[in-house]
Symmetry: C2
Subunit: 292 residues, 2 copies
């Protein structure tokens, strides 16, 4: 059993850390808002006042926070992870963040004689709770092999994609698919409604064939019911799309579909839908087309 | 067993008509290119030199041809279906065509004391061959019920969606999903390639979760292998998108994602990819981004 540090016990991180605790690992936890670590502390995790304190004795340091600037702060800031990271240990950032930042963390870890993985996930709060996350990993094979038994406690579809940053890049591929696909979902259902069709019946017939996708089959029915509550929040999705566009720009790659999706989601935020689910994009295009 | 007429024995129609023949129905067939009806004639179908001749004694008249203008010609032209359609019979147009044209055909059939269904399909040549098509139907319930046993010989997911035109509208919903989704597939795989990832590995990890779709899981691997052969041809897809955009315009519905997809597919045709598969969109965006 290993000593782990867990930085970030939000809705995702809390469940993921609990799986490691349930697996018998000894956890030290830190979170910006202390109350959100209650579940973990109740199950025996040691509360720490700073990332540095949690990191001090840990062999594996996991992090999953909100934005790249938060990742930057918990790694490079005062009392950050890198200030107390010991030689031979591993840092694993599971935040969806910038590939270039993942490379910087890996380099900084190496200078300390430690190793790093970037390992963003897909599957949402339900996937985290049920330990069914997809985990997309960047880093060295031998580090991956060392952490793999811990990943196995949190997820099911766990792949090493390449060197540092490759996990983040893969997550960007994931988000590009979802973002542009959501425009199709929304436009298709708007067309259905305007043409006098029953949206649920349309989803039923088109969702099983070549037009089928996770989004139309899972978020489509929510749109049809007028349910815009978040599985995944628009404000986080806009962050991810921003990272993907910036990386694409850096690589000199033009992605017009992603850019269009990004702009529509920015419009969603302009309409106060920041904390709505990604399917609330429907309301943006409905409103644009004279609806409510 | 019924007397049927089958107009259009292209790659789809041929298989679909054969299923009806195998079901014991007596077929009269017409096709612009006679040789393409050989399979049906060898199995006992009677060749006819015009749609009118095939229609004369038929209780059920099926059609599946290329473009709306072809539908117009075989129904309303000289020696067309409507010239010999008898009272009490049913016309079923299975071409992906204009909803407004479906309504015109239904009205013309009614004037003859006959009935009509619009019943476009999804599932491609494989679905047609294996009788696994999705069939999206517009028309009256009692007509649908009469034709349903024949549809059952061709497909599996058969739904009455509403009055005349509703089948075509539903097919448009299907195509809108595919078109906009394909931009996501292509941009995601371009990003993967540019970021140094293995495209097949990316498909493997993202295709099982919230980013999963029929397109990424079936056409993605073909893109990764450089296989741009048609499952469904770009020139037909551009036709469908044109219909959807025209109908949306008529209904005062703005669909920016579909418009973007349409323009990229027009660019594909500008690059000579008319007869390529829909996944050849990849080459358009690759070329736009400085590749080949």
């Amino acid at each position: 059993m290993s000593k782990i540090a867990w930085i970030g016990t939000g809705i995702m991180g809390r469940s993921m850390c609990l799986h490691l605790q349930d697996g018998g690992h000894k956890a030290a936890v830190y979170n910006r808002t202390k109350a959100k670590a209650n579940d973990n502390v109740e199950k025996g995790a040691r509360w720490c006042d700073t990332p540095a304190e949690a990191t001090k004795d840990a062999e594996f340091v996991f992090s999953i926070v909100g934005y790249p600037r938060d990742v930057e702060a918990i790694y490079f800031g005062d009392d950050g992870i890198l200030s107390t990271l010991s030689s031979g240990s591993v840092v694993i950032d599971m935040t969806t963040s910038e590939p270039t930042l993942a490379v910087r963390i890996a380099e900084a870890a190496q200078e300390k004689g430690a190793s790093a993985l970037d390992a963003p996930v897909s599957g949402g709060d339900v996937g985290a709770r049920e330990a069914r996350l997809a985990i997309m990993v960047g880093g060295e094979k031998k580090t991956f092999d060392r952490v793999k038994p811990l990943f196995d406690l949190m997820g099911q579809n766990i792949q090493l994609m390449g060197p540092a940053g490759a996990g983040q890049h893969t997550k960007m591929c994931n988000q590009i698919l979802i973002a542009t696909g959501m425009i199709g979902v929304v436009e298709s259902l708007l067309y259905a409604q305007k043409a006098g069709l029953n949206q649920s019946e349309v989803i039923d017939v088109v969702g099983k064939g070549a037009a089928g996708s996770w989004s139309i089959n899972n978020l489509g029915p929510r749109i049809a019911k007028g349910d815009f509550e978040p599985g995944f929040m628009i404000e986080h999705f806009v962050k991810d799309m921003g990272v993907a566009l910036a990386e694409a720009r850096r690589m000199k790659l033009s992605l017009p579909g992603l850019a269009l999706a990004h702009q529509f989601y920015v419009a969603a935020m302009a309409q106060g839908l920041d904390k709505g689910g990604t399917q609330a994009l429907y309301r943006v295009l409905a409103k644009m087309n004279g609806g409510e």
